[in-house]
Symmetry: D2
């Protein structure tokens, strides 16, 4: 593969993140084909044209089907709202394109299963945008777990908290409608679940609680019942027998991008917080007793692929850099490498865990994941 032709559908938050990644992946990594930015689509053609100019795409369109049909496009980045994912992914796969689809797969487990079936049929690479697992810190934690540096893991806690829905006086929004799914569980919960999956494999059974911090919100006409849950907690058992807690909130004032992980093993512990994404903490019982403590470890070139961005320790990657790594993994997969990425095969495991959690909540009991 001498070059790779890229199509991009959507140019908002995630669309821009994909565009930045496609621009940076070769200068950062070097060892990839030339990236040709072919075709960008967004709902409005003039917006698409402006963004194509900014992001460096050759062509622009107001119709995503033209990107999918473009013969120069090898891979399609899908960054539209979740409810469009199934249709676009299936069309792109059917057209013989690889896809890089933002998480989650879709708002419905049935649709997600259809997406998986299409990917299998197509034989194309279908990777999901679970960027947090690409952090060199997370990748290093994964290798420490594989090495059993902290022994056998017996307990895990992951909290994911933000505050963009924390204001009780903010008005009712479209996202408060049930058509968006459960709320925090599927919107946020999939991120910690992607980390659980990457670090430990899928959960075996779950018990979920959800809460509505603000059951009603004001509208121009008065009050309206909020239909989604901004807080969700999943108690879980992993197949290893370890117990775990995943808890997510969109109403946690002061939390901006917190994903706090605590992993406890037989001979040590690991801590991480996404708000300080360039460090993690490690406690080892192998250290001399009088000097045991959590080490705060800054990322450095030996935490691959940090070295591709900066050759000296402690200088820090940013959120967008994770997407560049994800892009490199996608290209690796296209080239046949066994690159770390959550593809549709793995992504469906996350969707099934979400579905089981929702059922557990409705029924007030533990649910096994098939």
């Amino acid at each position: 593969m001498k070059s790779i032709g890229v199509g991009l559908v959507g140019s908002g938050f995630m669309g821009k993140a994909h565009a930045l990644a496609w621009n940076a992946v070769k200068p950062v990594f070097g060892d990839v084909p030339d990236v040709r930015l072919v075709h960008l689509a967004d709902a409005a053609e003039d917006l698409a044209r402006r963004k194509a100019d900014e992001f460096g795409f050759e062509r622009a369109s107001g119709d995503w089907r033209r990107v999918v049909a473009d013969p120069d496009v090898d891979v399609v980045s899908i960054t539209t709202p979740n409810r469009f994912h199934r249709e676009m992914a299936q069309a792109a796969l059917a057209a013989g394109k690889h896809i890089w689809c933002e998480k989650p797969m879709s708002p419905s487990l049935a649709d997600s299963e259809l997406m998986l079936a299409s990917a299998r049929t197509s034989g194309k690479v279908a990777v999901l945008g679970y960027n947090y697992i690409q952090n060199p810190v997370i990748r290093h934690i994964r290798s420490l777990l594989d090495e059993a540096v902290i022994g056998r893991v017996n307990h895990v806690r992951i909290e994911m908290d933000e505050d963009f829905l924390a204001d009780p006086d903010a008005p009712f929004q479209q996202r408060h409608e049930a058509s968006n799914g459960w709320g925090a569980l599927d919107d946020f919960g999939v991120h910690p679940l992607s980390l659980v999956l990457t670090l430990f494999g899928p959960p075996a059974r779950v018990m979920c609680d959800m809460a509505k911090p603000y059951p009603t919100r004001r509208t121009p006409e008065g009050e309206r019942a909020v239909e989604v849950f901004d807080i969700a907690t999943i108690l879980m058992r992993l197949h290893s027998g370890a117990s775990g807690i995943v808890t997510v909130s969109r109403t946690a004032w002061g939390r901006k991008g917190r994903i706090a992980i605590q992993i406890f093993g037989g001979s040590g512990s690991i801590l991480y917080d996404q708000e300080r994404m360039n460090e993690f903490q490690l406690y080892l019982t192998a250290d001399r007793a009088t000097e045991q403590g959590f080490r705060t470890i800054l990322t450095a070139p030996h935490h691959r692929p940090y070295d591709r961005f900066v050759p000296t320790a402690g200088h820090g990657l940013g959120f967008n850099d994770l997407k560049v790594i994800e892009c490199r993994q996608l290209i690796g997969r296209i080239g046949g490498e066994a690159a770390l990425a959550i593809d549709f095969e793995d992504g469906i495991l996350i969707e099934r865990a979400v579905d089981a959690a929702a059922r557990s909540f409705r029924e007030g009991r533990w649910v096994e994941i098939g």
Copy 2:
């Protein structure tokens, strides 16, 4: 009341803490009666005699009943293992003594209810040793909540973690037997529950999970099944409707005395960690948007009664100082003040929550607390 006669039963960890508190309470606070250290009992008379000398008690005995019967004793500190609490408390109350009994009330809810009944009958002050609520930080957080500085609370998380049972290779101990109760739930869980009670009132319903990180432990003869649970998690709903999580572990390597509290409200959040007991964090949406952040607030004389220990800010109290404050509260209660303390009336609410949590775990469902 010109002076107060003190009896102490038990001279171990908590016995010493009580002794230090009784020695310090007048020099620290000034505004209390003279404290007369009358009688100390421990299981072995020579130990009792030695400790009486060290702690400054006049008399020593190998029989706790002699302390209870001593006419110069006004208040009895009970610091023996939990299974002795009921008998000692009832005897002391029957003898007309006030009591200061270490937490929890007893390993059995039925026994705890009997203790409450005895306290009611006696008309004496019966205070439990829930020292963490006495931290000036916690007392100040309580006043901030009363003031609604962070608005209406919608979510609470409390983690209590230590690592004294975290070594999988450590042998089976007596504390791994079921006769000790559930394990982390009643041994540890009562501390976070005392904080929930003090800050928010008792939970309305609970859903509990427990786990055994190390299901078996070695004995001189081989392996033996561990009968208690070193990890427990309680999902809860407060009467206010707020959701909460209490999770406790005795196998969390690196955690030494962690009690991490997160409180989220409509206009701010509060964080606290017992391992840094002289500070807390506060986020306020009232701050200018571009400078909103968690403030790390160090204790200072205006956080009462820190001022009784040190007249300048940021100089720090220690664990034993909390016991001195608790002692002052007890004396206040004896003198008829409405002092903050968890007496048997409040303590039974904690025991009932523990009992409901255990039932919830056994039955795999939510349990309402009567």
Copy 3:
């Protein structure tokens, strides 16, 4: 200006950083001309060719003079070792090119003054690579100071510490020779001095101490005296009368990219640490007394131009992103904007402070900066 033609000299650490910035500046900011990557030079032509391919440059050369002479090049990035800066900068300016030259200007104050003279003569934009001042956090701190949010500043401390020369057993390197300058003072010290300059203006007088943690280093033949100083401390007075300390070390084990700033004012304080570059701390006496504390403030879209990278708070920029901002400032200057950047006019003030500090050290006394 419809497009801007870029030449790059050097393709190592900083050369790659420039290349990444030139690739990203338009996708990130949008409001800039097309960037055309024209010509890359490095000492070896094959290396230059490989890097040109990776970074996206059209042409490659083993001779930097061909970049300077290339008519399609409008601006030259100079990222070679410091001792080459003067010659390259003067040649590029003489050829009518704008320049973006890595810090510091040169190892000799006399040469730096010549560079300034050339820039003045040319009328071209000549910007230095002081990237740390471009952090949205630092830019926001600057605006807080301008607003006098913490009142009149009376004291400043900046520490810059790394550990790449901390190993006493590492062998003598070329960088231990006096031909490289003073050592930490001019290699590192210019970074904190760039922050002093940006936030407060240049120092008025300085008193400097330097130290050699390891006076000798091993060579294949034995031991050799280290000729540079790995630790330097500058006491200073600002023109405002405020006192300050700048201290730098290259032998501080555990410090990887620490630049710790402490600013004390009449009504508050500001703290920052480059190792956690996406946050800063602010203490305000305007807060209610019982809740005063250092706020940890995470970067967010309102801290410009963070918003150009990510539209949500707390998601974090990386080291390379600062270079993209610096690149945008350079383009702004070329377009006539009053963009924040340290050009040769400002850069010379840093060089003069370094020179005065060195003199102060030699003479053991305070030195006024002319």
Copy 4:
């Protein structure tokens, strides 16, 4: 020695701290004689009487000479303002008493030398109240340095900052007069110097700068020039050749009791902050490269004598507990033990360093310490 008779002069901040320590030392440590609280003096007799009652002293007096003359008194705690130290210490020593005198020795080096001479003549124990060195953390750091765990120390920084004089609008106080000495240098600087002395021995030469953040202060009549310096910085060389910085400020908003220590060695580093006095940080190059980081180590029973206060790790000592340890050291010295304490022989080294620093500041040059 069966019991020890205590006299206390002064009942303010430090007087109370001494009283608390004398009350606690036997219950905490056990292995000391009975402590008999004999005689308390303060300037006003009724205050003395009230405090004697609170603190548990048998006798009270408005004249400190009566304490010194009391035949039941074996040791005199001197906690009055610094200008009274010399006269009281000399009188007590002449009367054959041991003394526990608050730091510093006196405002004048000549007077301090006289105090030392009297102590030598008397043959009595004369210990100074440098409590921070008694923290189990500091004592453990000392043992780590002795063990060369971080190799040979090459650089040290100590900052001591508080904010009680940080308000520019606060009026002129008596402490702004030159009669109090230099200001931050001798009031605060002695604390970090006591740490330098304890950890590394006395400095060999010093270069000092001092600053007045607010040169004038308002009085009822107008403005008055401040005669002391609220900020002081001492550059130093230790006898080992290591370089160091001690910097102190009384106008650092937000700092309440900060004493931040940074120690850099050939194979690691140690960090400490008095505001979090129950932890320290340790970086070791002996750790595996990919997991090197600063460990945050919580105090625990193996950090002696923490175990005498609490038998479990991470539960925290407070400021007053340090005084209890200091008291135990004093009693040890009286009993002939080689206990860690700063006596007049060591204290004079601190006073001489302060004196040399002041001379250095006046003369704008480095000063050797004789």
